[in-house]
């Protein structure tokens, strides 16, 4: 099963085991990871599940045009590592991801 480590702005972290095709946003909500809101339920229309994808054993497709458009306006600064976590769905059963949660989402 894929694992995702969520690193908070204060450095604390939590690693959870998730399932293939479950987005990093959905996994965060299921485990009440602070700082990931995911208000639109994964439609890439609210921009409140922004994370920095720092490390990943699986490579993901680059952001779609819509995701790019949302990422320009995230509450916390956008970096090269910025992604909407609703668009990150591990497909490799052994995937290991480390994402940083930004200071703010709204």
């Amino acid at each position: 099963m894929p694992t995702v480590t969520y690193v908070q702005p204060d450095g604390s972290q939590q690693t959870i085991t998730t399932a293939c095709a479950t987005s990093v946003m959905q996994a965060a909500l299921a485990h009440r990871i602070p700082g990931i809101i995911g208000e639109c339920g994964g439609a890439a229309t609210c921009g409140t599940c922004h994370v920095y994808l720092d490390r990943s054993s699986e490579s993901f497709l680059p952001p779609s045009e819509d995701e790019e458009a949302m990422l320009e306006w995230t509450a916390a600064p956008r970096t090269a590592a910025s992604r909407l976590s609703c668009q990150l769905r591990p497909s490799d059963n052994a995937a290991q991801l480390v994402v940083r949660v930004p200071e703010e989402q709204q």
Partner: protein, 409 residues
């Protein structure tokens, strides 16, 4: 608080309330009463992905079962029957009852039905729940003659879903434009163009006045202009009615929804109402607002949770936004207020102004402008002149504002 908090309603508002309460450290008893047999699920797909026969028919739960278990949230999958305010008790079907120190009503809304003979026949459907979506998708096939009544967001999303499986779609709207007063005329015209190009036959200004039936099913829809439109399936999408029965029967004021003040409290300070079911009254102007959106449900839920954990005394305030996916078309809207006296088109978006100030932005396949407008309107209200100076490209203003904030920070 000894009896704890009871939340009635398993939609976005209810789930966000219990989530935010625990997030903010509330540790008392917490009960979520939801009328459906399944765990609360994500609602927007009900009128979108869930209608697509190629998708998983099981709606994605808003939170996994473990979330409720791990956070000590009792989920009661049964309908609330009544509120006894004297004993602070919610009566629940199956003979159950839940006592509360505070009650949050997040009962949502139900589909408005047509008061016409034949409307109760089995091929006349409304769309509100995952179960409704299943019933509809099983009837949608290539060639099926679908008549959609109502050119609102649900009707348009259903029309797109039906076209995806190559059904024949006629959409009848009694008003002169799609989406009534929710969107401006230029945006409504572009949305109509999209649906016509997608193969939907639009009948604007067509009032439905009856059904032709063969006794067991509706065979055609009769319009005021005398047309008879053949139908295998009729989808009624003429809006929603707030679920305010519990509040009304408990003696709380309702006005096409549960009336609340700017703190989202009903006339009983121990009862709040949020989301689709709540009508917020502005004491200064006397105007009332009831919004049906995920944003409104979530923001009001977080606000009430903050209040119940001692975090806020300010009145509720949020910037409303909304989206609707109709096939390849994504409509997005943000609005400070619904009124406007002037519109200006800017690319794929329409800016709305009142008294020379921006009141809202409607966007079609233009998420960048939408999101820029949301960012900007959270902090400022740009004028028509300021926008004219940047060729009405709100992204330019939003970028300037973001840079200015960084400099200050």
């Amino acid at each position: 608080m000894r009896d704890g908090i009871v939340v009635v309603g398993g939609g976005h508002a209810g789930v966000q309330t219990v989530d935010a309460l625990r997030e903010r450290g509330y540790s008392g008893p917490l009960t979520l009463v939801c009328g459906e047999a399944r765990l609360p699920y994500n609602r927007p797909p009900v009128s979108k992905e869930l209608l697509d026969p190629a998708t998983d028919p099981t709606p994605a739960p808003l939170r996994a079962a473990s979330f409720y278990r791990d956070n000590g949230i009792t989920v009661v999958p049964a309908a609330a029957l009544g509120i006894d305010r004297g004993t602070r008790t919610v009566h629940i079907s199956g003979g159950m009852a839940a006592r509360y120190d505070h009650l949050v009503l997040a009962t949502g809304a139900r589909a408005r039905t047509l008061p016409l003979p034949g409307a109760a026949l089995p091929n006349v459907l409304t769309l509100r729940t995952a179960q409704d979506a299943h019933a509809l998708r099983e009837r949608l096939h290539a060639g099926t003659r679908v008549v959609v009544l109502g050119g609102g967001f649900i009707g348009l999303e259903v029309a797109s879903a039906a076209r995806r499986v190559d059904a024949q779609v006629v959409l009848l709207e009694r008003g002169p434009q799609l989406l009534g007063r929710a969107v401006s005329e230029p945006t409504a015209a572009r949305i109509a163009e999209h649906h016509r190009a997608d193969g939907v036959r639009l009948g604007l200004g067509e009032q439905v006045c009856g059904f032709a039936t063969d006794g067991s099913r509706v065979t055609a829809v009769r319009t005021g202009s005398g047309r008879l439109v053949s139908a295998d399936v009729v989808v009624v999408g003429i809006g929603a009615v707030a679920e305010d029965r519990l509040a009304h029967e408990a003696g709380l004021p309702v006005q096409q929804g549960i009336l609340v003040d700017q703190w989202l409290a009903t006339a009983d300070p121990r009862i709040s109402a949020i989301g689709d079911c709540a009508v917020v009254r502005d004491p200064l102007t006397g105007t009332t607002t009831r919004l049906e959106s995920v944003q409104n449900a979530s923001d009001q839920a977080r606000y009430v949770a903050e209040q119940l954990t001692g975090g806020t005394s300010r009145p509720y305030r949020a910037l409303p936004w909304f989206w609707s996916d109709q096939g390849a078309l994504r409509f997005q809207m943000v609005q400070r207020i619904a009124s406007y006296d002037r519109t200006v088109s800017s690319g794929q978006s329409v800016l709305r102004f009142e008294g020379g100030l921006l009141t809202g932005v409607e966007s079609l396949n233009d998420p960048s402008t939408h999101q820029a407008a949301r960012r900007l309107l959270q902090r400022a209200t740009p004028s028509l002149a300021e926008l004219a100076a940047v060729d009405h490209d709100i992204r330019v203003l939003a970028r300037q504002a973001a840079r200015a904030r960084q400099v200050v920070a």
